[in-house]
Symmetry: C2
Subunit: 594 residues, 2 copies
C-alpha cells in the first residue's frame, strides 16, 4: 500500500525562506496569518491528508462510484465520512472570504494544503476543489442575493458546487453549446440540455449540489457571445434558506475512466430545470473564466501532487529493494544485494523527479503569491505586475506541471520495475489519476495556444517583458555573489533561450498564425523550464544563506539545484530548436495522409 507524508519542511522553506511571506504581514489576509497560525494550518493539514484522505485513496480507485437506479450516486466507502470531517474541521475553504464563513488565509498558504490533499487523494479532493471554484465564480459574478443564498453553505462544504460546460458536441469549443435557457415570468430560466463529464455532478456527500451551467438563452447571439451562466441547484432554496423542491435534472450515467475512479464523472440531463442567471445575459464566459483560471492552477497542483506521492513511494522502494550490486563495489556486503538506490540510473530517476517537484512547487506557490498580491497590495504597480504574472503563468502552471507531473509519476512506476505495474502496489493509480490533468480545464494544447495566442500579445507584450525583467533583475542583483554564480549563470542561459524563442514567435507568429500554433507546445515547455530555473536560483540563494548550520536540507537543496541546471535545463535547447522549426514541417501533409 502506498504511503504519503506531506513534505512540510520543503513547504515551509518555500513560504518563509524563499517567498519570505513574512514581509507581507502589513497586508490584509497576511496580517491575520502569523507564522504560528500558518504552521498550525500546515501541520494540521498534513495530518488530515495522511490520516483521513490517503487511507481511502486506493479504496476509491478500486470501488469507484456507483449510479443507482433512481439516479443517485454512491461514492466509495469512507468518502462521506471524510467529506463530513473535512467540513466539520473547517478545512473546506481556508482561503475563502470570512464574510461567508471562510478563514481568509492567503492563497499562498492554502496552496500547500491543497497540494497535500491532492497527493493524498486526488479523486476525493476534486469535490471540494470544484466547490471552491464554483463559490468563487458566484462571489465574482453573482448578485448580492445569490452570494447570501449560496456562499455560506458552499464555503462550509454543506453544499457542493460543480461546473457544467461540456456537451457531446463541444468540449474545447464552447461556442457550440446547445443547452437552452428559456426565460420565465418570475425572472428565473428553464434549462434544458445534456452536459457530459461533470465531475461531482451527482454524489452523496453534500446536502445540495449547486450546478453552474453554461447555456444559451433563446434568441441570444450565436457562438460564444451568446453563452450565459446559470446557478441550477439540485434542491431549490426557500426564502428562509431551507431546502425546497428537487430541481428537474438527473444524473443519466457515470463515465468509466482510466483513473480518478473515486470522483463521479456524470452525464447530466437538464429537463426544464430552474436556473438563475449569474451576471449579465450572454456574458457567461467572463465569470466562467474566473472559475476556469482558478481551476487551472488547481489542476497544475494536481500534476505536481501525483508526482510527489509517486516520488515518495519510489524513494522508499529504492532504499528497501535489494537487487544487484553497485557498479563501484558492494555497498551493503552483509546483505544478499545492495538497495537499488546505489545504482546511478535509479538515482537519475529520483533526481529528475525531485528537481521537477521542488522546482514546480516553488513555481506554483510563487504564482499563488501573485494571486494574493493582485488582490491585497495597496500599490497599483504591484497589483498590475502580479495580475500580469498570474495571467501569463496560469497556462504554464497548468500544462508544464501536469506534463512533467505525469512523466514523473510514470518514472516512479518505472523505478518499481514489475512491482509498479501491479495494482496491489498502488503507484500505477497515481499514473492513471495524473493522466486526466493534462486534459481537463483546457487540454495542455489549449494552454499552449492561450500562452502564445493571448497572453504574449496582451497589452503589447507587457506581461512577458515584465517576466523577462523578473529574470534579469534576479541576475543583476545577484551577479556579485560568487557562490551563487553557477545558478545565476543558469538563469542567464535560460533567459537568453526564452527571449530567443519569444522573439522568433513575435516575428513569425503574427505573419503566419500556423507558426504560433506549431510552436506553442515547445514554447510553453521552454517557458516552464525557464520559470523553474528562476525558482531554483531563488531557492539556491535562500539555501546558501542558511547553509552550514548543521542541517543537511540546505546542502541537498543546492545539490538538487545543480542537478536541475546540469541535467534538466538542457531540455530547453531542444524545445527552442523545435520552436524555431516553425509550421512548415508540421503542416506539410494533407489530412488524409495520416
Amino acid at each position: 500500500m502506498p504511503k504519503y507524508q506531506a513534505p512540510l519542511k520543503d513547504m515551509k522553506f518555500l513560504l518563509y525562506d524563499v517567498l519570505e511571506i513574512g514581509a507581507y504581514s502589513n497586508l490584509p489576509r497576511f496580517a491575520d496569518a502569523p507564522r504560528d497560525v500558518i504552521d498550525a494550518v500546515l501541520d494540521g493539514g498534513a495530518t488530515f491528508a495522511s490520516e483521513v484522505l490517503q487511507p481511502i485513496n486506493a479504496i476509491g480507485d478500486k470501488q469507484g462510484c456507483k449510479r443507482n437506479p433512481d439516479g443517485s450516486v454512491t461514492t466509495p466507502k469512507g468518502f462521506r465520512e471524510a467529506y463530513q470531517r473535512m467540513s466539520d474541521d473547517g478545512w473546506m475553504a481556508i482561503s475563502a472570504d470570512p464574510q461567508f464563513g471562510g478563514q481568509g488565509l492567503p492563497r499562498v498558504v492554502a496552496f500547500p494544503f491543497l497540494e497535500m490533499c491532492s497527493s493524498a487523494n486526488m479523486a476525493f479532493s476534486m469535490y471540494p476543489g470544484l466547490t471552491r471554484g464554483a463559490a468563487e465564480a458566484i462571489q465574482h459574478g453573482g448578485s448580492e442575493g445569490q452570494k447570501k443564498t449560496y456562499l455560506p453553505n458552499m464555503v462550509s462544504g454543506k453544499w457542493s458546487g460543480t461546473m457544467n460546460l461540456t456537451e457531446p458536441q463541444c468540449g474545447t469549443d464552447l461556442g457550440l453549446i446547445r443547452t437552452k435557457a428559456v426565460p420565465q415570468p418570475d425572472g428565473s430560466y428553464k434549462i434544458t440540455g445534456q452536459k457530459i463529464w461533470i465531475s461531482g455532478g451527482e454524489q452523496d456527500l453534500a446536502e445540495n449540489i449547486i450546478q453552474l451551467v453554461l447555456a444559451r438563452i433563446e434568441g441570444g447571439p450565436e457562438g460564444i457571445k451568446g453563452i450565459s451562466l446559470f446557478i441550477v441547484p439540485k434542491f431549490l432554496v426557500n426564502a428562509d434558506g431551507s431546502l425546497g423542491a428537487r430541481n428537474a435534472f438527473q444524473c443519466g450515467g457515470l463515465e468509466e475512466k482510466m483513473g480518478i475512479h473515486g470522483n463521479a464523472t456524470c452525464v447530466m440531463n437538464y429537463e426544464g430545470a430552474t436556473g438563475y442567471l449569474v451576471g449579465e445575459a450572454h456574458k457567461g464566459m467572463r465569470t466562467m473564466f474566473v472559475m476556469m483560471n482558478e481551476a487551472r492552477l488547481g489542476v497544475g497542483l494536481q500534476g505536481l501532487s501525483q508526482a510527489e506521492v509517486a516520488f515518495q513511494n519510489a524513494a522508499d522502494f529504492a532504499r528497501e529493494r535489494l537487487q544487484g550490486r553497485s557498479i563501484t563495489g558492494a555497498k551493503s556486503p552483509d546483505k544478499p544485494a545492495d538497495p537499488i538506490i546505489v545504482h546511478p540510473d535509479v538515482r537519475r530517476m529520483l533526481m529528475d523527479m525531485k528537481a521537477f517537484i521542488e522546482g514546480g512547487r516553488a513555481f506554483a506557490y510563487w504564482t499563488a503569491l501573485q494571486g494574493d498580491l493582485e488582490v491585497v497590495s495597496p500599490d497599483p504597480h504591484v497589483r498590475e505586475k502580479a495580475e500580469d504574472r498570474m495571467a501569463l503563468l496560469t497556462p504554464v502552471i497548468k500544462a508544464f506541471l501536469t506534463d512533467r507531473g505525469f512523466k514523473s509519476a510514470s518514472e516512479a512506476l518505472q523505478l518499481h520495475g514489475g512491482t509498479g505495474y501491479t495494482r496491489e502496489q498502488g503507484v500505477e493509480q497515481f499514473v492513471r489519476d495524473a493522466r486526466i490533468a493534462l486534459i481537463y480545464e483546457g487540454t495542455n494544447g489549449i494552454q499552449a495556444l492561450d500562452l502564445v495566442g493571448r497572453k504574449l500579445a496582451a497589452n503589447g507584450g507587457r506581461a512577458v517583458f515584465s517576466f523577462f525583467s523578473d529574470l534579469e533583475d534576479f541576475v543583476s542583483s545577484n551577479d556579485e555573489n560568487e557562490k551563487l554564480k553557477p545558478y545565476v549563470d543558469g538563469v542567464t542561459t535560460a533567459t537568453a533561450q526564452l527571449k530567443d524563442g519569444t522573439m522568433w514567435l513575435m516575428q513569425n507568429g503574427m505573419s503566419n498564425f500556423d507558426n504560433a500554433g506549431a510552436s506553442s507546445h515547445d514554447y510553453l515547455q521552454l517557458f516552464g523550464l525557464t520559470a523553474l530555473a528562476l525558482m531554483w536560483a531563488k531557492m539556491a540563494k535562500a539555501a546558501l544563506e542558511r547553509q552550514g548550520n548543521g542541517d543537511r536540507f540546505y546542502d541537498d537543496k543546492l545539490a538538487t539545484a545543480r542537478y536541475y541546471f546540469e541535467r534538466v535545463l538542457p531540455d530547453a535547447t531542444s524545445h527552442l530548436a523545435k520552436v524555431k522549426a516553425g509550421a512548415a514541417p508540421v503542416m506539410a501533409l494533407s489530412a488524409d495522409a495520416f
Copy 2:
C-alpha cells in the same frame, strides 16, 4: 470502439524498397520467400489481425483472466477460439524451422506479422510470443530428444511455452534465485520454489504448457553462475508423445495489473515438479539469454505496435471531431466547426507519432534483417557484422521503441481530449498495455546499462565502430545526391553527436563506472535518435527514387523525414548534454535525502 488496419503499404515499402530483401533471394529462407509469398503472408496476416485478434482486444481488457478454485485459469471470451484459429491456420511460427513444422520464413518477414498481431491485441499475442521464445531456447540449448519431444507441438501451437525467471526477492538480479532443483536417479530433477509474474503460466488455450524454469541445482555454485535451466511441462510427455501425468505445480494466483488484462500473469508454485535440464548444469543463463534477446526485440515491437494502433485511432478522431476554427480561417465553413486536424498543435502530435512509428518500424525491421543475415549469409564478414549489429542494437530497440511507443500512445490519448480518458473509447487501453513494455524483459534502465556496460565494450568496441561505419558509409556514398542533402546532413549531425557521446563515455565511463551508469539512459536515447536518423535517410532515398509516379505516398514519406530531422532529432542535443554532465550531479545526495 478502436479500429486497426495493418499499415501494409509502409511495411511493403520497407521490405522491398528500403531493405531491398529481393537482393537476398539466393540465401536460405529468402530463397523460399519470393515476393508473392511474402505479399500473401502480409495480406493474410493483416486480415487475421484485424478480423480475429482486434475484435477481442477490448473484451480481453474488460474481462481479464480468472483463476478458478482448482488452480486452472480461464482466459477472456474469444481467446480460445482465436488461439485455435491461429494454430489451425499456421500463423503460430511462420519463421520457425521447417524441420519442426515451421514455415521457415525470414525473420524480417515475420516481424511485420508480429507487429500486426501486437497492434491488434497485445495481451493475446504474448501467448504465442512466449511460446516462440521458449521453442527457440529449446532449439538452441536442448538435446535432440528434447527438440523432438517438445518442438513440433510448440511450433504448431498445440502446446505453449513460458519463461519462469522472477521470484519475489529477485527480478533483475537473477543471481538471487532460490528455486531449487534436486537431481533424481532417472536423470530428471525435482523443482521446488515460487515464481512470480509468469505470463501465460497457466491458461486454457493449449493442451500442454512447457515451462522453462530457472533454478539452482542443490550444491551448485552461488549467484548467477549456479543457475540452470529446466523444461517443466504441465503434463509429462509419454514416450509415444501422448500426455501423461499432471506435473506437481500450480498457479497460485493471478496478478491484478495496470493493463494487458487478457494475459494471465501467474504466481507459479513448484512443489517437487519434474523438470529436465536444458544444456549444461549451472549454465542456464546462456540459453535463457537467447530467449531474452529474442523477447527483447519482440517487446520493442510491442512498444511500436501500441503507438501504431493508438496513432491510427487518433488520426481518425482528428479528421472527424469538429471543434473550433483553423487559426488561418475556416476550413469547413459549411460545418459548425472545422475538424481538429486543421490545428497545428494537433498536427504536431500526429507528426511526432508518425515520424517515430515509421522510423522505429524501419529500425526494427532492419535489425530483424540482421538476425537473418547472421544465420543465413555465407560470408563470415557479413555474419559477424550482422551479429554485432544485433547485439548492439537489441537494447536500443527494446528501450527506445518502448519509451517512445508509450509516449506516442499517451499522445494519441491526449489528442482525443476527454474522450481519450474514457474506457469506452478504448485508446487508454493502449497506454496501459504499452506501459509494461518499458519494464519486462529487463527494464529500460537495464537495457541502457547493457548498452554502455557490455555492448559498447565488447570486442574492443567493434560493434559500435562498425555502426559508425554504417552511418559514415551512408553519408559518403550519398553526398553527391543533391536532393538527398538535407537528410544526409541530418545523419552527419546525428553521427557527430553520437560519436561525441561515445567518446565521452569511453573516456569517463571506465575511470568512474558511475559516469557510465548515470549517462546510460540519455546515451541510449541519443543512440536511438541516431539510428532513426539513418533509417529516415534511407527511407528518404528510396522515396526520392520512386517519387513523381503520381503516388503521394513517397511525397508524404519525404515530408515526414523532414519533420523527423527538424522536429524530432533536436532532442539529441539535450541527451548529449546530459550524457556529458556525468555522475557528480546524479550521485550528490545521500540515500536518505530522498
